[in-house]
Structure formats: C-alpha cells, structure tokens
Symmetry: none
Subunit: 217 residues, 2 copies
C-alpha cells in the first residue's frame, strides 16, 4: 500500500505531538509536516503537498475556516479533515461550506481516525456520530420550520401575480408594462400586499415571501 502523506495543523504543540504519535500506529500514514496556524500552513504548502490535512478550527492568525478556504482555492485536490474539541454548530456549517471532506471531534478513538483517513483518502466523506446527530437535528429544525408556516393571508390572483414579479426583482414600472396596467395600479396591489402581510415596504415584502416560501428561488 502506498503511503498517505499527512499534514497536521493545530496551535498546540502538545496536541500535534500526541496526534502524530497516534497516527504512527498506521504504517501507511506519513506525517510530512506540521503547522501551528493557517498562515504557516499556507507557507508549508508551497513546498509540501499532502494527501490529507488534519485541520484544527480555533487557531490564531488565520483560523481553520479561512485556512481551508485558501488552501483549497490554491490546491483544490487537497482533502481536509476538520478537528474540533467541541460541537460548534456555526463552525460545522462554515467548514462544510469551506469544503472539508470530514469533520471529527479530537477525542475520537483510534478506529474512528483510521476509518476517516481511509474514507477520505479514497474520495469519500467522514463525519463522526456526534456530528451526524447535529446534522440530523438541523434537518429536523428545517422540517419543523417548514411545517409551522400556516395562517398565511389569502391573496387575490392579481396580487399573487404581482408578488411573483416583485420577488423576481422587477420594479413598479416594469411590472406595469409586463401585465399592461398603470404603474399606479401596481402600487395599489402592492399596498394591499403590504396590508395583508403586515409589512411596510417592498423589501420587507420580499423577505416575507422568502421566509414563508411563498415564492421559491
């Protein structure tokens, strides 16, 4: 089996030392470098391209989120495994958006790390059980948000038509031309929409529509 080249990024040397020790129990893993923050990582990457980066999130100077983004921008083939000491909802999302392949707690056991490395190396993803729980909670939140959208006001056909056009970004004049009525009439329909939804201007009407998923984008 070929060796998997790994870089560790964490601001605590003790953690890096311990983690390197742990990784040494996998003969096919080779820790080629370390970095103590995002900036250092970017410098290191100029001369050393690993297969996998273990990336801490909380770090001085350039944190894990930013470092991941920049690293992937320059080297899109990098695989990044995010490491965190605790479950932070916000970071999870940011790291996923940054494009990491895996997200684990630092106190995972050795089998989990092995699974993660092999999975990621072969092009997959890995999320530890706690993360999955968080994700599924999130999904549930999404669901309940969708369910509780009731008692929406009743719009007339014309109002619905105009609301759609508003949410596509058209102004009063443009809408008027499109449906062959006076801009003044468009304004009147908008007033009715304001009243029914309880908002005070077009911007808030659009926000209302997106929030209640009356229109989709």
């Amino acid at each position: 089996m070929e060796t998997i080249k790994v870089i560790l990024v964490d601001d605590h040397k003790i953690f890096r030392d311990g983690f390197r020790l742990l990784l040494q129990s996998f003969p096919y893993v080779d820790v080629i470098c370390e970095a103590s923050n995002g900036l250092e990582l970017l410098k290191v990457l100029e001369d050393n391209i690993p297969d996998i980066i273990f990336m801490d999130i909380n770090m001085p100077h350039v944190d894990g989120v930013e470092a991941s983004k920049r690293a992937l921008e320059k080297y899109p083939d990098l695989k990044i495994i995010a490491l965190t000491t605790f479950l932070d909802d916000d970071y999870l999302e940011q790291m996923l958006m940054a494009g990491v392949e895996a997200y684990m707690l630092k106190n995972a056991d050795i089998e989990e790390f092995e699974k993660a490395i092999l999975k990621v190396y072969s092009g997959g993803n890995y999320f530890s059980a706690e993360i999955v729980a968080l994700l599924s909670d999130k999904l549930n939140i999404l669901r309940s948000r969708k369910v509780q959208q009731m008692e929406l006001p009743v719009f007339t056909d014309r109002e619905k038509e105009i609301l759609e056009l508003i949410c596509k970004g058209f102004g009063n004049k443009e809408i008027a031309e499109k449906i062959f009525i006076s801009p003044k009439t468009v304004e009147k329909h908008k007033s009715s929409l304001f009243q029914k939804t309880g908002v005070l201007n077009t911007v808030n009407l659009v926000i209302f529509s997106f929030k209640h998923q009356i229109v989709d984008f």
Copy 2:
C-alpha cells in the same frame, strides 16, 4: 424500565413476523400492533397510540411518506423510524420532510436497531451509516454547487454589516440610527453593494443575498 410500545407497518407479513421476532429480543419493547399499509395504520392509531412506529416506505394504498405525514398531523408526538430496503435519495428527503426521527436500512443489525430505538425513544434522531454517507454526499454537492455559482464579491466590514440590516428589513434611516451614521452614508454603502453585486436597487440586493446565501433567515 418502562416498556416502549411499538407498531410495525409493512406490507409483507413475513417481514413483520421476522422483525417482531427480532424486537422480542429487547425485553423493554412491546409490539402492540401491526399494519400492512398506511390506511390500516391510521385506523389502528385510533385505538392504539405507540411510542414508536417502524414504517416501511414502499407500500400499496397509502405509502410511508404519506402515512407519516398524516399520522404526525393527528398525533404530533409520535416517533417514526423509517425503514427501507435500499438507498433511495428521493424518499430520504421526503421522509425527513415528513418528520421521521430515524431512517434505517432493513438489513441493519440488531445492535443498530437497539441504538435507534433507544435514541429515538429518548427524543433523539438516528441515521444509519449508509444514510449518513448519502447525507454527506448531498452536503458536498451543495457545497460544490455553491462554489461554482460565481465568485462572490468581497465586501468591506461596513458593507457586510449594512447588508445584514438591509436583509432584516430596515430602511436607510433606521440603519443610520442603529449604527450612528448619516442616512446618506448608508446610501453610499448600498451603492457600493449595488455595484459589487451588479444589482440596481435594494429589493434586488435582498434577492441576491438570499439566493447566494450571504445572509440566512
């Protein structure tokens, strides 16, 4: 330990028999009823309220998705564990939207079922490893879609701050008061935002932000 009341819903009697047998190895689980499709389940529920429903997805008459929706509408406290023979992307999403607490493959092992029951009974979620893989793939798709959307413009801190407030529905005057600058200055920042995003007015700026998930709601 109190007993956990369970109902099985599946159109194959053989599977129900086998599954009941499996569940009997948990002394704290009591299979109080069975149903062979969604309609039957709804009838059964009139006299029997379980803690957990094991719900097959592919069924005649009323399928698992519809049955889950209707059951949860009438009895919102029900916990539903969705069962499927294969990984179907589409059903997964539909079942999650319907509000199930767990989603598992039928050929999961006994330990997994135990985990799922206990997790769900105590108010949590459970998704088997294969489902998680699917979910994480989905997330990755979302991410890569986001990346290739377009390179988002770079906003200054002040611009980000104002964009947030705009998307919360505040007008120029209100924003000005909130951050202690002149309404005119707010307008200037908005102009910059217009230019950077390529839109022509506030409404379109809000639409842009929601579409590109720059702000979340």
